[in-house]
């Protein structure tokens, strides 16, 4: 489904050129869980941004169902990201001005669509276990609750691929475990999951995940 080849991002820092992501090859198939583990600064977020078509790579290609997404115009790639990709960004990413329900509904309205979404949004909130928080605002949520909202939001348009950037970054072990279970469930429903975690979290990657290790921009399989 998703296939990246030779993906490279070059950055310049104080005149010094370095590759934040360096020749990464990666494929994610339907219903599969892929987990990337790496230390801070190893290039994980940069890689995910390029895979989602948000960041233009210096070299390499990203294909989705065989199509080169880098050749698409902004409208096409935005539409694709909106419908096929669910993205859970790193850190707190809820819009503070909208309540939980509206945060979850938001992606539905970012592209032209017919139909209703509120019931589906409520169902997603129930799926991640926070139906009772629908009317709350992000400032009133715990870190774990906020992550669940971000997850429900990423799932609202029934994406084919869920990309999650350190979804359990600063959560305790028990909460991390619960969220990992959700990912396993989602993958079980047929949605591919691409997961990025810190080394510390690696131990609790969902079972059945294909695990990669990232260091210095390079990706290596771990067996």
């Amino acid at each position: 489904m998703l296939a990246a080849t030779g993906l490279t991002k070059e950055y310049r820092r104080r005149g010094e050129v370095f590759n934040a992501v360096d020749g990464v090859d990666l494929t994610v198939a339907k219903g599969e869980i892929v987990s990337i583990v790496g230390r801070s600064g190893s290039g994980k977020s940069t890689l995910l941004n390029m895979l989602a078509g948000l960041l233009r790579p210096t070299a390499g290609a990203v294909r989705f169902d065989g199509q080169d997404i880098l050749g698409w115009r902004d409208a096409e790639i935005s539409r694709w990201r909106n419908t096929k990709i669910g993205y859970m960004p790193q850190g707190q990413s809820l819009l503070a001005n909208l309540n939980v329900l509206d945060n979850v509904r938001l992606p539905f309205f970012l592209a032209r669509r017919d139909g209703e979404i509120t019931e589906k949004a409520s169902a997603r909130l129930a799926q991640v276990g926070i139906a009772h928080l629908a009317a709350n605002f992000p400032a009133e949520l715990s870190g774990g609750e906020a992550r669940r909202v971000a997850l429900a939001r990423a799932l609202i348009n029934a994406p084919e691929l869920l990309i999650a950037d350190e979804p359990t970054g600063d959560l305790d072990l028990a909460t991390t475990n619960e969220i990992m279970k959700l990912f396993a469930q989602i993958a079980g429903d047929g949605t591919a999951v691409l997961l990025v975690t810190h080394e510390a979290e690696a131990v609790i990657s969902p079972t059945g995940a294909r695990i990669y290790e990232m260091a210095g921009g390079k990706l290596a399989g771990r067996d």
Partner: protein, 403 residues
């Protein structure tokens, strides 16, 4: 019931609702811009209208008055202090002889006692119906014979009593007509014919009142209104009149109108300069605020992009916010300006010695819409640079920890 959609407008609205301080600042700027534009335009247009009315109403080409009284005479016309001054009635006949003069008509000025009809003394103006060519057009609404003996006509600022009379020197006089607003001294004047004022003075004598005019033997008058036949310039005729009558002074109507015209142009220039300065400063401030807020809201915009919003959509939200704040601020500004201009403009006009007549409702309405539109466009333009930055930036999209 349809569910509540999350349109760009709604997102913009929620963002504004939760940023009260920013909204207050931005609407304040928009309010100042719209208010200054609207208020300035209404005020200067009102004075322009006043000047047009004045030029049209000023039926005489020249006004001849006793030497040393030209300023007082202008005050009578333009609405300064009520005044009186006299010379001999013979002077009218002499002026009629001067080449270039086609018609002359004497007028007689008096001031009422204060607190009789009005808060302040009012200007009494008597004209000679047989020769008059100045007052008649103002009284066009009256039947053919015009003002009859004993009747008066009053300016728009003079309030008649309930029985439509005005009390002058202890007696009531019926009001036959009220003259529309002229923004000149006429608004606070009482008009009547010579017979009426003579009777009025006789009555006053019975009350043991004495007048300056009593000293002029052969019928005192205050001014001779002169119409020219058009062959010779007003200045030339005025010089001629002064040469033959050493103790008179001549007010040239064109001169008065021209003076006010110049004052108006100066005022317009000042208003324009203030407006330009305001708009330049505000445009800079708005542009800075909007593009500054893009940096501050980088994260919010990158989240929207991550969720599949196009660049155009994100820019649309920013522009919607700008448009909404400009519109709300603009409305507030127009309303405040209206509250400032409408009650006080006549007073300000008086202080500046400029005639002010409120412009037509259609003009006021149109100007309000125009001010709003211009402020909205300014808001959009100021935010356009911010929107452009959002569309162009790639780097801000990378969401990294600690940002």
């Amino acid at each position: 019931m349809a569910e509540k959609q999350l349109t760009s407008w709604r997102l913009a609205g929620e963002n504004l609702r939760r940023q009260p301080l920013r909204v207050v600042c931005l609407t304040a700027v928009a309010a100042i811009l719209a208010g200054a534009l609207f208020g300035g335009a209404i005020f200067t247009t009102g004075i322009q209208t006043g000047l047009d009315v004045l030029a049209a109403r000023f039926g005489a080409d020249l006004m001849v008055v006793p030497a040393g009284n030209a300023q007082k005479a202008e005050a009578v016309l333009l609405g300064g202090e009520p005044n009186y001054f006299y010379f001999n009635g013979d002077i009218g006949r002499k002026i009629a002889q001067v080449p270039g003069v086609s018609r002359v008509s004497p007028q007689f000025f008096l001031t009422s006692l204060s607190a009789e009809c009005c808060d302040l003394p009012v200007q009494l103006i008597a004209f000679e119906p047989e020769t008059d060519f100045v007052v008649k057009p103002w009284l066009a609404a009256l039947p053919a014979q015009g003002l009859r003996d004993g009747q008066i006509a009053v300016g728009c600022d003079i309030l008649a009593r309930e029985n439509r009379t005005v009390k002058l020197f202890g007696r009531e006089y019926p009001v036959a007509a009220q003259i529309g607003k002229t923004a000149t001294g006429l608004d606070r004047s009482v008009l009547m014919n010579m017979n009426t004022i003579r009777t009025m003075i006789d009555h006053a004598h019975q009350e043991k009142l004495h007048f300056l005019a009593d000293d002029e033997p052969a019928g005192a008058i205050s001014a001779v209104m002169v119409r020219l036949d058009g062959d010779r310039s007003p200045a030339t005729v005025a010089r001629e009149i002064r040469r033959e009558n050493p103790n008179v002074e001549v007010v040239v109507a064109q001169g008065v109108v021209r003076q006010i015209g110049q004052a108006l142009r100066r005022l317009k220039g000042q208003v324009f300069a203030v407006l330009v300065a305001l708009w330049v400063v505000a445009a800079t401030v708005l542009t800075a605020v909007y593009s500054g807020s893009v940096n501050e809201r980088k994260k919010e915009f990158s989240v929207l992009r991550l969720l599949g919003a196009t660049r155009a959509k994100v820019a649309g939200i920013v522009l919607s916010e700008a448009f909404l704040t400009a519109l709300i601020g603009g409305l507030i500004g127009v309303v405040l300006a209206a509250l400032a201009v409408f009650p006080f403009s006549t007073y300000i006009g008086d202080r500046l010695q400029l005639p002010y007549i409120p412009p037509a409702a259609a003009y006021i309405f149109g100007m309000a819409l125009f001010s709003l539109a211009l402020v909205a466009v300014a808001g959009l333009l100021a935010a356009a640079y911010a929107a452009y930055k959002i569309g162009r930036a790639e780097t801000y999209l990378t969401m990294r920890a600690g940002e």
